[in-house]
């Protein structure tokens, strides 16, 4: 197995038996997984599969109803602040503080993570994510893509052990996407464990060493892409999209579009 070498290492993030219920509906069902330092785990699943709920639970935004989460060995329930010191969260629609400038966001983040001498790294990140011209702009003045870039800067700044990203590339232009992909790779290379949730399967395929596929809150598959091919009896060279559809049990071809007269109006 390609993942055997990971078994002997201490996981940066460990999730055991996580379950989450909303008004009687089981959104996450006994989910367990581990992510190791320097690894990028791709989290995929259809709409409503429980990806965001999983990430929000692991980030400590939602209280844990059942299960254990440990970040860098610190239990999220019993040692919450220490656990969160090793964690950064990039939501799918980052909403910055309206009246704080870009640089002030980073000042606040540095204070949160008790960083000293944070300014050079902050300036480097602002430059790297092409926010230099906007460093004095307030949160309310940033476009969707810029808010996303600011969220990256905030996540990168404290050099966390684990970064959770929910649809991190939405709102970015092609240039921003390329730069974000490179930054994610470099972040992992620095030893950070990354959990990347996205509908962009090519992104997951390109960046992630391992996959976690969930459906209706349950773990359907976890492992590398080649393991997935074996596990799901997919053909050699089949894409992640094929594997995803196989795993989530949806092989149906889309119905042909109804023919209509050109220019017809109802």
């Amino acid at each position: 197995m390609e993942t055997d070498h990971l078994a002997h290492r201490e996981p940066a993030l460990s999730v055991q038996g996580l379950s989450r219920r909303f008004d009687g509906t089981l959104a996450v069902d006994d989910l367990s997984f581990e992510v190791f330092a320097g690894e990028i785990l791709g989290l995929v699943g259809p709409n409503g599969a429980g990806k965001t709920t999983t990430l929000r639970s692991v980030a400590g935004i939602l209280p844990l109803q059942q299960g254990k989460v440990a970040i860098g060995g610190h239990d999220l329930e019993t040692d919450e602040v220490e656990a969160k010191k090793g964690l950064a969260w990039v939501p799918d629609n980052p909403e910055p503080f309206e009246s704080l400038t870009v640089m002030e966001h980073l000042e606040f983040t540095a204070k949160l993570y008790r960083m000293k001498d944070w300014r050079p790294r902050a300036e480097a990140l602002i430059e790297r994510f092409e926010l230099t011209e906007k460093s004095k702009a307030m949160g309310s003045e940033l476009s969707r893509g810029m808010r996303q870039k600011l969220a990256f800067c905030q996540a990168w700044l404290p050099r966390p052990r684990v970064v959770l990203m929910d649809e991190p590339l939405s709102g970015l232009d092609p240039r921003g996407i390329r730069s974000a992909k490179r930054a994610i790779r470099e972040l992992a290379a620095e030893g950070t464990a990354v959990v990347l949730s996205s509908h962009l399967l090519e992104l997951i395929e390109e960046l992630s060493a391992r996959l976690l596929i969930i459906d209706r809150g349950k773990r359907v598959f976890m492992g590398t892409l080649s393991e997935a091919r074996v596990h799901l009896s997919a053909e050699e060279g089949s894409s992640l999209e094929d594997i995803f559809l196989a795993a989530t049990g949806d092989w149906r071809e889309p119905a042909p579009e109804p023919r209509s007269e050109p220019g017809a109006v109802e």
């Binding site: 969260w89 503080f97 009246s99």
Partner: protein, 569 residues
Amino acid sequence: MIGGDPALRTLARLKFRGALRKTWKRMRSLSGLLFMALGGGVVVLWIFSIYMSGQGDDGSSPFRDMQIELRPMMQAVMAFFTVVSLSSAANVRGLYLPKSEIEALFAAPVRRTDLVRYRMKTDAWRTMLGGVIFGLIMMRRAPVPLYGFVGTLLALLTLVVVRQAISLLLADAAGRFGHVFKPRLAKLVAIVGGVGIWMLVMTLVMGERFLGDMLDLHDPVATVTALLEHPVVRTLTLPFYPQASLITAESPQAFALWGTVCLTIYLVLFEVTARLPIDFREHSLETSETIAKKLANVKRGGVFSSGTVDKTVASKRVPWFFGRGAFGAVAWVKATEILRKGRRGLFASIFVVGMVSVVITMAMASDPEASRMGAPLFIAVLAVLYLSGGLRVDFRGELDRMERIKSWPLAPPKLFAAILVPQVVTISSFVAFAIVVRAALLDLWHPIIAAALLVLPFIAFAWMAVDNLVFLFKPVRFVPGQEGTLHHTGRALVLFFLRMILFGLVLAAIGVVSILVVWVAEEMLHWGETAKIFTVAGVAAPMFLVADWVLCLFGGMLIQRFDVSRDVG
């Protein structure tokens, strides 16, 4: 401890600095400066009027002269405020954090106790403004104004902490036992408590004039004193004895003693609340989401937009009242919004129009001629003025959709009319119904009623069109209590005058022609009263129609120039 997490202190400092920066930015343009100055002037005048309101002609305070003991009165005021806080705490369960902040702060490495401290401290700053106003009211009534002011501020700050504690405890109770405090019960408590507070504040402001003249109590002093000395009231208000004693302190020694006691209570309550072992995250996320939706609804303006649609109502098809074309389609969407979302607003409006009719009828009862002729016109004017604000289904609710609306295949002037027509028809129908029912019940028929009903829809359209023109010219969506209050108050004042001037011009043009018609009918044709009334109505209606058409043309122009990338309010 009370200082809290340094990162959250930094956040509070940065946010304060950001608010100042935004204010400074607003003031950099001439219009911004003007709006700010006007808004500031309004607020200063308001505070000054509150401060002076307790003063009699000879400079005395009517409340102080009433010989009602102030301390038990203050205890009662505090008790009422706490009851109202209980009801608002039921709606804000857990710890309220704005939607834009909540995820970032919950995922951040800070203790939940520090988040509670942070929230209570920011709430305390917000309470200061209200505290200053209420402190000014109390200043003139307290034996020593400074003690009254300081005591009131401290009492209100304590209330902030009590409210937060109740929110947390209710969230915990709801988590364990389900919803223990039903929203309807909370609303009832809020209404009863609100009325109670209003009466107490009015008593403080107006004294015997309120109790004796307005409430018609024969011996107001004795009644209030008896109420405050009732054993049940005394027991219920006993926890507020220290705050009331601080406000009514008469010597420096009493002030120092009760000040120390109150400050200790505040600090102990603050720390105890922060350390309550309650995981509020789930309820806080829910509350934050609910409040964000409510704020968005308030920004859209009007009662209709905040209504929810139940499945039974949604399953009933709304007829296409205004035709099957593109105009009819747009009007149909708005009519659906009125009939499905605004049921509560519709009922409230029927009640208000009914009340307006009753009050005007009673006020004019002694003059039969005024009751027959003047009352229907008064009812029409007041009801249209109220309903156009209360039953708002206009462009304010469409601001988020302007991009799509602009792309619809309908000429902009028609689009402008189609958006407004359903609201105009609804309001005109309500008012017409009220006038006709009143006339039928009291047998007060007069030709002016028919004339008024003929002109009413055109006038109502003109009023709402002018209102929307000004809104589209300068779209502003503002929720009271949010930042930029002074700036928005000033701007609202300017826009109000602009609206009145525009509508006044329309009325003046039609008025001049109507006077000419009456003169001709009277002096040259020697017509009777009924003929004159119908002639004026017959002339005014088409003139208003022309005015409405012109306003639609302007509306169309404003829709065209509306910049969706900028004008988002």
